[in-house]
């Protein structure tokens, strides 16, 4: 958790060039009634993009959710079983689940993210080949499972067995790296609200994943988003599913503890 010091806002506002980004964000923070200063990425978006996210009939992420709903009841693999055969109605069985991930997996003695957890069920319960990272199927299922947490607070990180992994994620977040020698924290803690190019730097709270990103013209996972930020500082991205990413995801979700889930969010 990185609480913001009081008085910082004023100091930042005094800096040149911020006029465009800050007032809107500050105003949103008040509307939100949030006292702790944490803001979802949607607070940094234009009104048009926020509207696109808010209207289920206009949010293209809902196309993926509908795919996920169809996959949920499709019998798959050697076991010939559907997710629904074991978990029945997702609205009940998956309520709040995505808000709790990455979660500790006792068999692996490590945290797994939601995509990994779904693929574990695919392999071990359905006897089917796991879906590839970023495949439309895994994004659809995680969007559908994620939707069942929409509006609920993030609860990830409460399991005490996760503590050492959260700490490793925090270490990575604060580590200066890449050709530009920047840490995630350099942008997302020390410079949020400022403009990078013409994009406001958000606080990096992963409240809406998987997201529909306008830049991608499609859906993508939090890991894909993190890869974009690593490429941004000219650092070598890890392979999908690398423990470093899962720990970083876990740290980010823990840092966003209590914030409201927005899946499927829309981001620029």
């Amino acid at each position: 958790m990185t609480p913001r010091q009081p008085g910082r806002m004023t100091a930042r506002a005094a800096l040149a060039g911020l006029a465009a980004a800050l007032p809107a964000v500050a105003c949103l923070a008040q509307q939100d009634g949030r006292q702790d200063g944490r803001l979802s990425g949607s607070a940094f978006m234009s009104a048009e993009t926020r509207e696109m996210q808010a209207d289920d009939a206009a949010n293209p992420g809902m196309l993926s959710v509908l795919d996920g709903e169809a996959l949920w009841s499709r019998k798959e693999g050697a076991a010939g079983r559907a997710c629904a055969d074991c978990h029945s109605d997702a609205a009940t069985s998956m309520r709040g689940v995505a808000a709790r991930f990455p979660a500790f997996d006792a068999a692996r003695n490590a945290p797994v993210n939601l995509d990994q957890r779904i693929n574990i069920c695919r392999a071990e319960k359905q006897g089917a080949a796991p879906f590839a990272w970023e495949s439309p199927e895994i994004l659809a299922l995680s969007a559908y499972v994620g939707l069942q947490s929409r509006g609920l607070p993030i609860t990830a990180g409460e399991d005490p067995r996760l503590a050492p992994f959260i700490e490793r994620g925090r270490g990575f977040y604060s580590l200066r790296q890449g050709q530009l020698d920047l840490a995630c924290a350099s942008c997302h803690d020390d410079n949020w609200g400022r403009l990078l190019g013409s994009s406001p730097i958000p606080q990096a709270h992963p409240t809406g994943y998987p997201i529909y990103r306008l830049e991608w013209q499609g859906m993508g996972s939090l890991q894909r988003r993190l890869r974009n930020c690593l490429a941004g500082v000219r650092a070598e991205p890890f392979a999908y599913g690398a423990p470093e990413y899962v720990e970083l995801e876990l740290f980010l979700m823990t840092r966003a503890h209590g914030m409201v889930m927005e899946t499927p969010a829309v981001r620029p």
Binding site: D56, A57, M62, L63, Q217
Partner: protein
């Protein structure tokens, strides 16, 4: 079959102007995107959307590559009677996908 999302008000009164919102999953490949080998990815877009209301055409759109991936089109129609609203999307290969939704008018 591409995934579609059609939104109309569940219940309407006769004479009311209702909004129909449509989304369809499609890459809308412009034909102008260079590939790694230097050639251009061939154009593949949805070029037409037609809406009929109990069989009669009430709206049609000609779409070009400047329309976003996963095209969103919203328009209006007067709720005249209960029945069926059909949306048909046609792509560059001439394939048409039609989806229908029921409309209830009081």
């Amino acid at each position: 079959m591409a995934r579609t999302l059609i939104n109309i008000p569940k219940q309407t009164r006769r004479g009311e102007v209702i909004e129909i919102k449509t989304l369809i999953a499609h890459p809308m490949e412009t034909g102008f995107r260079p590939l790694a080998n230097g050639s251009l990815a061939p154009r593949d877009i949805i070029n037409r959307l037609v809406c009929t209301y109990n069989g009669e055409e009430v709206f049609r759109a000609d779409l070009f590559p400047a329309i976003t991936a996963n095209p969103y089109v919203a328009f209006t129609t007067v709720a005249t009677e209960s029945g069926e609203i059909a949306l048909s999307w046609t792509d560059d290969r001439g394939q048409t996908q039609t989806e229908t939704v029921a409309i209830k008018v009081e």
